[in-house]
Point group: C2
Chain length 222, copies 2
């Protein structure tokens, strides 16, 4: 065991170096704009498949930077993803993160409509924070409802659509890309089955750190 890596910042820096080295060994050169997000997702999952899975619409990261620098709201579809978003980075940028899954009116609305709480939570978020960054890491039903809301006029600052699973997941991501392309909405997704609340939070954090110009762990104050 290498005893020189002690603090979380040192461990993170060493991890990122290993990831970069292994990418180079595989002959992979990441596009510069998206490199931080891709490396952070690999850091979170130890899964190099995300090099191929992750899809970014043109200038998605650049546009996300502009938004997040102004202290934008992030809405997640699970409390797990919300828990994973860096509160320190949000605080520094003046942003906030919300998840409406546990709101009583979401449960009530889902029951009334015969939909899922995840879908109803997106609706509520669309009303309260229509220009937020929406990060969906779990429920394809949330992503599909978000696509409908965009068809109806919702214009989020960015959609991070990385639900994981075996039913409706692949299709929901394809529809997301198509919908966002149609309305020129920035989107980051992981094509295929993979994703998750951890991946959604990792993408948010990569963007937040970058927006805070705190890409290098040693520069961070937390």
């Amino acid at each position: 065991m290498k005893q020189e890596h002690h603090t979380p910042a040192q461990i993170e820096r060493a991890s990122m170096e290993i990831i970069q080295r292994e990418l180079e060994e595989r002959g992979i050169c990441l596009p510069e704009e998206n490199a931080h997000v891709i490396r952070r997702v690999i850091h979170t999952t130890a899964d190099f498949e995300y090099v191929e899975n992750l899809y970014f619409s043109p200038s998605a990261v650049g546009r996300a930077m502009e938004t997040l620098k102004t202290g934008t709201v992030i809405v997640t579809d699970t409390n797990m993803a919300k828990a994973g978003v860096s509160k320190a980075a949000l605080k520094r940028l003046g942003g906030e993160v919300f998840c409406f899954m546990a709101e009583p009116e979401v449960t009530e609305e889902a029951r009334k409509q015969g939909s899922t709480r995840a879908a109803a939570a997106m609706e509520l978020a669309g009303v309260r924070y229509p220009k937020a960054v929406f990060a969906v890491g779990n429920a394809p039903t949330a992503l599909l409802r978000l696509c409908e809301l965009m068809e109806e006029g919702l214009r989020p600052a960015l959609v991070i659509g990385v639900p994981v699973g075996f039913v409706n997941v692949v299709e929901s991501k394809e529809r997301l890309v198509e919908t966002c392309r149609k309305y020129h909405i920035p989107v980051i997704t992981a094509m295929g089955r993979k994703g998750g609340s951890n991946v959604a939070a990792a993408i948010c954090n990569a963007l937040l750190y970058q927006a805070a110009e705190l890409i290098q762990p040693e520069k961070r104050g937390w």
Copy 2:
């Protein structure tokens, strides 16, 4: 898109059927005792590599069942893993979940010892809930401190050790297996680099659902 899958329970049942079918197509027959945990981790990650990665000490699941049925405390190393553990299942069994990462005394203790908050959080948990289920999904430093505490006499009901990453992770899991073997402590881990807070929560939930005899989604009241 298959429109017949509407509710989360239906989607989950369909997902588990797909997972089981694909396992059979690959000629994989899961050991019965561990099958629910393995399938739920695949469900959470869409990653079949966990079939090979997951390690269970003999009778770990059976012994976890006995403990969780009595309403045991679960301690996690991240608030993200804590957020992912099913509160409904815990409530049904009379259990609780805690994460001490954000406690002021943990920050203070980590500073004093020059260790990580994750390691200090395990220490505090070891004092408050020495017979808990410990679920570590993020920090190898937490797992290594837990190993030291077991050397010093701590006897958790079960250790779920699935940190993810590139530095000290593989080694921390090897030490965990060795330590638990020495002291006959039940352990579930994912050998290699993979794991995460989502995987830690998925293993907890698989065990909780099974302990509550709520393995089949259609039988669940939530």
